[in-house]
C-alpha cells in the first residue's frame, strides 16, 4: 500500500457509458494482483472530497488500466482526464482473487461494469480453460474488452441470451458437469446474491463485492459486510473485496 502520482496515458471510450483509463504507474503495475483495487483522488478540490475505489482492470508493463462507468460526480470528473494529467492513486488495496488450487475451468461471471477486474484475472489464469459470462442491460452497454471465450446475456435480448447472466450460466452449467470448475463473480449485489444461491454447496465460488468506502485500507470502518457465521462484519476494503461465496451475507 502506498500513494503514487501517476500520469494519464490515455482515456478511451468503450461504449456509451464505459471508459478505459490507462495511467503510467510503474510501482503500482508491478505490485497489483488480480481483484485488487485502488482508491483514486479525482481532483485536488474538496469536492468530491473522498477518493473513489476502482478495480484494477489490467496491467501491461508500467501501465495500469482502470475500467469505469460514469455514475456520479467523481467518475464524471475522471472521464474528463486528458493525456498527461496527473492522478493521485492509493493502492494496491484489498485481497485479490485466489487463482491457486486445483480447478480446470475458470468460469468468470460479470454483470455491467462488474467485468472490470476480469482482464487481469484472465492474464493470471494462463493454462486454465476460461469461460466469461458477460451480462448487460442491452447490447449497447455490453463490455467485451479484454474478455475471453465470451458468452453474452442481455436483459432485453438485444444480443446473446435473453435474460440475466446467472440464468444463462445455469442453462449452460450441465456442459461443465464432469469438470472441476471455479467461479469468479463480480457485479451488482442482486446478481451476486443470485450467484451465491446457485453456487451454494455446489461450486467453488469467489465473489468480488462493491461498497462505498472512505479510506480503502481499514481505518474508516465504513464498508462492512455481514459475516455468514453471524459474528459481526468483515470490511470490504481490507478483508475483501473478494470473498468466498459462503463467507458473507449480501444484503
Amino acid at each position: 500500500m502506498f500513494t503514487v502520482l501517476s500520469t494519464v496515458e490515455s482515456l478511451e471510450r468503450l461504449n456509451k457509458n464505459t471508459f478505459l483509463l490507462k495511467v503510467k504507474a510503474p510501482q503500482l503495475a508491478t505490485a497489483i494482483k488480480p481483484g485488487q483495487f485502488c482508491n483514486i483522488k479525482v481532483s485536488d478540490a474538496d469536492y468530491p472530497l473522498l477518493r473513489r475505489p476502482f478495480s484494477v482492470c489490467y496491467t501491461d508493463g508500467d501501465t495500469v488500466y482502470f475500467m469505469f462507468d460514469i455514475q456520479g460526480e467523481g467518475t464524471r470528473i475522471l472521464a474528463e482526464k486528458k493525456t498527461g494529467d496527473q492522478l493521485d492513486i492509493l493502492g494496491p488495496l484489498g485481497n485479490g482473487f485466489n487463482t491457486e488450487g486445483d480447478f480446470e475451468v475458470a468460469v468468470l461471471i460479470g454483470g455491467g461494469i462488474g467485468v472490470a477486474p476480469f482482464p487481469l484475472l484472465i492474464k493470471h489464469l494462463e493454462g486454465k480453460e476460461i469461460l466469461t459470462f458477460v451480462g448487460a442491460r442491452n447490447s449497447e452497454q455490453l463490455i467485451k474488452w479484454g474478455m475471453r471465450n465470451i458468452l453474452v446475456a442481455t436483459d432485453d435480448g438485444s444480443e446473446g441470451f435473453n435474460g440475466n447472466v446467472i440464468a444463462y450460466f445455469q442453462s449452460e452449467a450441465n456442459k461443465l458437469e464432469n469438470k472441476k470448475i471455479r467461479i469468479f463473480g463480480c457485479g451488482p449485489n442482486p446478481m451476486l446474491k443470485a450467484l451465491q444461491k446457485v453456487a451454494e454447496k455446489k461450486y467453488d465460488c469467489q465473489l468480488s463485492i462493491e461498497s462505498a468506502m472512505a479510506c480503502g485500507f481499514g481505518i474508516c470502518q465504513g464498508c462492512p459486510v455481514k459475516k455468514s457465521d453471524g459474528m459481526g462484519y468483515y470490511l470490504v476494503c481490507k478483508d475483501g473485496p473478494v470473498f468466498n461465496s459462503d463467507q458473507i451475507v449480501i444484503e
Binding site: L49, A214, F217, C220
Partner: protein
C-alpha cells in the same frame, strides 16, 4: 531551530499534530503510509469495555466537502486492545492517547481503571459526544451534570491527563468546557462531529442506515473554529482543536483561535501522510513569521 513542542496541561507533545480517534484505528494500517513517530501523537479508536460490532451498512456517505458517518463505535473492547493492540502501539515512539466511549458512567470508570495500568497510554480522551449510538454518546454529551460526573469519576481512577471530547451539538459549548475544568479535567478536545443526514431523492430513503450520522471534513471547519474560539475566550483550559483540518493552514487557524494542539481526522482517509506534511508546513510558516515556539501561536488572535 523552531520549538514545535506543546503542552496540554501536564501532557507534553513533541509537536501539536495528533491523529483523531476513529481515523487511525489502532495505528497499524496507517503506519504503512506514514512515520507515526514524527507526529505529536495518535488517539486510538474509541474503546468500550466489551467489543462492539458497529452499525449495519450503509455506514458512510459523502456530502458537499464532507462526509457523514455512523460507524457505531465498532471496536475490539478493552481486553483485546490490551492483549493485541498495545504491543504494536508501544513500538511507535509517539504519544498514545486512548479514547474511551461507554454507555454508562460506570463503564467509563471501569475502562479507565483497567487501562490506566498500561504504561503505553499517556492520556485519556473521553468521548461523551458520539452521535451514532443509542446509549451513551450524546445522551451524556449534551447534559452538563453527566459531563461533570464522568469527568470527576474518571479523574478519580487515574493519575494520567484526562481530555474530554466535546460535542458541537449544544448551544453553549463553553459551559461544557467550564464544567470539565471545574471537575478536574485536564483539557478538552473540540469538536466531535455535527449531527447530519442525507436522503436519496429517488428512493426517499436515508443514505445511511442509522438515518443520521456525524458530519466531518472541511465542511465543518468554520463551525469548529467558532466553538474553539468560544471556549478559548471564556474558559481557561487547554483546547485540542478538531474539525475539517486538511492542511497546515487550517491547523494554524485552529491554533490562532485558541487550540494548543489539534487533531486531523477525515483527511487521513484521503491522504494518510497528511500529518507529516502538516508538520513541514508549520515549520515553514513559523520561519516566515519569525515564530520560535509554535506554542506562541495559541490564542494569538487579534480581535
Amino acid at each position: 531551530m523552531i520549538d514545535l513542542s506543546v503542552q496540554i496541561g501536564r501532557l507534553k507533545l513533541k509537536n501539536p499534530v495528533l491523529l483523531a480517534s476513529g481515523t487511525v484505528g489502532y495505528g497499524n494500517e496507517i503506519a504503512e503510509f506514514t512515520d507515526l513517530s514524527k507526529l505529536g501523537g495518535i488517539v486510538t479508536k474509541s474503546l468500550s469495555l466489551k467489543p462492539r460490532i458497529g452499525n449495519p451498512p450503509q455506514r458512510i456517505c459523502e456530502t458537499a466537502s464532507g462526509m457523514l458517518n455512523a460507524i457505531g463505535l465498532a471496536n475490539v473492547g478493552v481486553e483485546v486492545f490490551i492483549k493485541e493492540k498495545i504491543p504494536f502501539l508501544k513500538k511507535l515512539n509517539t504519544t498514545i492517547i486512548c479514547n474511551i466511549a461507554a454507555s454508562s458512567i460506570e463503564e467509563y470508570v471501569e475502562c479507565t481503571r483497567i487501562l490506566t495500568q498500561e504504561d503505553a497510554i499517556a492520556a485519556f480522551e473521553i468521548n461523551v459526544s458520539c452521535p451514532n449510538v443509542k446509549e451513551g454518546g450524546l445522551e451524556f454529551g449534551n447534559n452538563l451534570q453527566a459531563v461533570a460526573k464522568i469527568t470527576e469519576k474518571v479523574k478519580a481512577v487515574t493519575d494520567k491527563p484526562v481530555i474530554i471530547k466535546l460535542s458541537p451539538n449544544v448551544s453553549r459549548i463553553s459551559e461544557f468546557a467550564k464544567i470539565v475544568k471545574d471537575n478536574g479535567g485536564d483539557a478538552v478536545s473540540a469538536i466531535n462531529t455535527l449531527v447530519g443526514t442525507a436522503f436519496d431523492i429517488w428512493t426517499r430513503k436515508p443514505k445511511i442506515k442509522n438515518i443520521t450520522g456525524g458530519l466531518s471534513g472541511p465542511a465543518i471547519k468554520p463551525v469548529a473554529l467558532a466553538k474553539v474560539l468560544e471556549i478559548s475566550r471564556n474558559v481557561e483550559i487547554p483546547i485540542i482543536g478538531i474539525g475539517g483540518i486538511m492542511n497546515w493552514k487550517d491547523a494554524v487557524e485552529f491554533m490562532i483561535v485558541g487550540a494548543s494542539a489539534f487533531q486531523i481526522g477525515t483527511v487521513n482517509f484521503i491522504n494518510p501522510k497528511a500529518g507529516e506534511e502538516i508538520i513541514d508546513g508549520l515549520i515553514e510558516y513559523c520561519k516566515k513569521m519569525s515564530i520560535n515556539r509554535i506554542s506562541d501561536l495559541t490564542a494569538s488572535y487579534e480581535i
